[in-house]
Amino acid sequence: MAGHTRGSGRPNQWLRNLNAKFASVPMILTAVVIFLGGTIWTVVYSFTNSKLLPRLSFVGLDQYERLWAAPRWLMSVQNLVIYGFFSLVFSLVIGFVLAALMDQKIRFENTFRTIMLYPFALSFIVTGLVWQWLLNPEFGIQSVVRSLGWTSFAFDPLYNSNIVIYGILIAALWQGTGLVMCLMLAGLRGIDEDIWKATRVDGIPMWKTYLLVIIPMMRGVFITTLVIIASGIVKVYDLVVAQTSGGPGIASEVPAKYVYDYMFQAQNLGQGFAASTMMLVTVAIIIVPWAYLEFGGGRKRA
């Protein structure tokens, strides 16, 4: 192919598509400096003894040892596990059941959907404060039930260290299940009508169709929803701040709040960095297998 002459002035490779490159500068800066650089920076500084200001004096795994010895962190992790588990299970179950009910060509579908989804438009702060009020033992649900005659009725999750995290869970489910329902409904609507016709001709009962045919077909929707719920769980912060401020005592602390408090209140940056790195690891544990299933080892799927 050698030997043929070329016109002069081939545009410089770097100058070609210049507008697109110029327009992408904010994206490139965000991706490289903030997301990549910032993450690496935090991980690196989690191995230092930074207090008020970040300092590069490495202390090995000290911060992590301190972290995993701190009762408040252990409580945060325990809360996150409980909250996470029940939040996942209930969100998926409630969301799917509601979506399945909504998919029965019901009347007032739009009204029901509007009602179920509106809490999602509200912030966690608003959600937390409303449920703080509803769960107020003096005036809220507990007092109303007691005033009806059941005087020993006790429902005061926000003031009981043992069950406070479930009080937060109720508020979180109120806020988020509408979204899960919407995602599931979109998934259900995406299923070929002919599948339903076929199972009807075959005489398969509806619940069996859902369990054995529809849910396996919605694998992708379930996984996406799972990832969304899960990454939301790890970030849970505003809700706790609004509803309980971590109390009573440290009973409703969560990792994200631990990070914030150590970074900006207790001025112990090293602890904050170590705790946030642990959050990163948690997310990686969720995301990496998912990404691998979705994009990497997907060859097995036909």
Binding site: M1, H4, R6, G7, G9, R10, P11
Partner: protein
């Protein structure tokens, strides 16, 4: 070379490890209607996009009107292009669609109006000028898309499967219109299609492509009657050419292809070189070059049995078994045969094709 409109020299294009076009050469004469024909993935659209400047080439050069445009922007190449999906800007009226490129090029307002009214007249879309693309039928949209190329006042028109989205009836109507357009404008047109009827009816010359390589570049009749290789022979024509694999034998001053125990006398075949005895060959005969029950006495003939009959109105397609091999024959529509009828076939070897079984080239 004079009168060359578009010239592609040693063009190569690869995406990573995948080579789509490999050292391709093609000269298109001024005012010529050239069709790039091939099945999907053969590189024909890729080649057209390279000529348009919508894809950057990996190597080689492209000249349009003797100007090296290899690195030019599409707008500076003096081309107009018509796409399969019409690609009309949905939010603009037909008039705006036609004028957009001219406005970008800062053409004078009166000149824009003049060109639009001319294009609208040629394509008979004057009543549609104020409408939005969504309010047009498929055929009207494609007319507007052609109009958009027309107003650019360019020498070279590029068509990327322009009729594939239309139904069969509209397709044949617009095919005629495009041909008429070419006859009146006398522009150079490069036309990509996978439809061999479009190719045969429209083209001055057809370039049959496969795997990024031009298999044959010739006028339609040559392509049809004297395909350069086995691929072109099999690709063009419907139903496909009948092939018989065998061996050349020379006896008594005559040449035979011995296939499946049958000897085909190919002495009448206009071979390019002398026959070589023992050569492995493929004999190709088009369905319409076989006569049924019309053999004159003394003429070599073969016995076959009718398998299936496909009457198509104007003609009648017979599927036959000849020495165990299936083959098709086209006869006049009014001549009917029942299945399992025995027939006598005689082959018109003067218009048959003979290929080397090894390199698959025409002999």
């Amino acid at each position: 070379m004079e009168n060359v409109s578009v010239s592609v020299k040693d063009l190569s294009l690869s995406f990573g490890a995948v080579t789509v076009l490999d050292t391709l050469n093609l000269d298109i004469k001024d005012g010529e209607f050239l069709v790039l024909l091939g099945s999907s993935g053969c590189g024909k659209s890729t080649l057209l996009n390279c000529i348009a400047g919508l894809l950057d080439v990996s190597d080689g050069q492209i000249f349009i009107k003797n100007k090296n445009v290899t690195w030019e922007e599409p707008k500076d190449r003096g081309i107009g292009m018509v796409f399969q999906s019409y690609a009309l800007y949905p939010q603009m009226s037909v008039e705006k669609n036609l004028s957009f490129g001219l406005q970008v090029a800062k053409v004078e307002k009166t000149e824009i109006d003049r060109r639009i009214s001319r294009a609208a007249e040629i394509l008979q879309i004057q009543p549609l000028l104020k409408r939005k693309p969504a309010e047009l039928s498929g055929g009207q949209r494609q007319r507007v898309a052609i109009g958009r190329a027309l107003v650019r006042d360019v020498d070279v028109f590029l068509f990327d499967e322009p009729l594939s989205n239309l139904d069969a009836k509209l397709r044949s109507e617009l095919r005629v219109e495009i041909k008429r357009l070419h006859q009146s404008l006398k522009n150079t047109m490069i036309y990509v299609t996978h439809d061999q009827i479009e190719a045969l009816t429209l083209a001055d010359r057809i370039a049959v492509m496969k795997s990024g390589v031009i298999q044959q570049l010739a006028d339609p009749m040559t392509i049809y009657n004297a395909p350069e290789n086995l691929f072109v022979a099999g690709f063009i024509g419907s139903p496909s050419m009948n092939f018989f694999r065998g061996e050349l034998q020379l006896r008594d001053g005559r040449a035979f292809v011995h296939a499946n125990g049958v000897d085909f006398d190919v002495s009448a075949y206009p071979s390019r070189g002398p026959f070589k005895a023992g050569q492995k060959v493929v004999l190709g005969v088009r369905p319409e070059h076989v006569r049924v029950d019309e053999a004159s006495s003394g003429e070599p003939s073969h016995q076959a049995v009718v398998d299936i009959e496909e009457p198509m109105g104007a003609d009648n397609l017979l599927w036959l078994k000849l020495a165990g091999q299936s083959m098709s024959v086209r006869i006049a529509g009014q001549r009917r045969y029942k299945p399992r009828t025995a027939v006598t076939l005689s082959f018109d070897m003067a218009v048959a094709s003979l290929f080397d079984a090894g390199n698959e080239n025409r002999l």
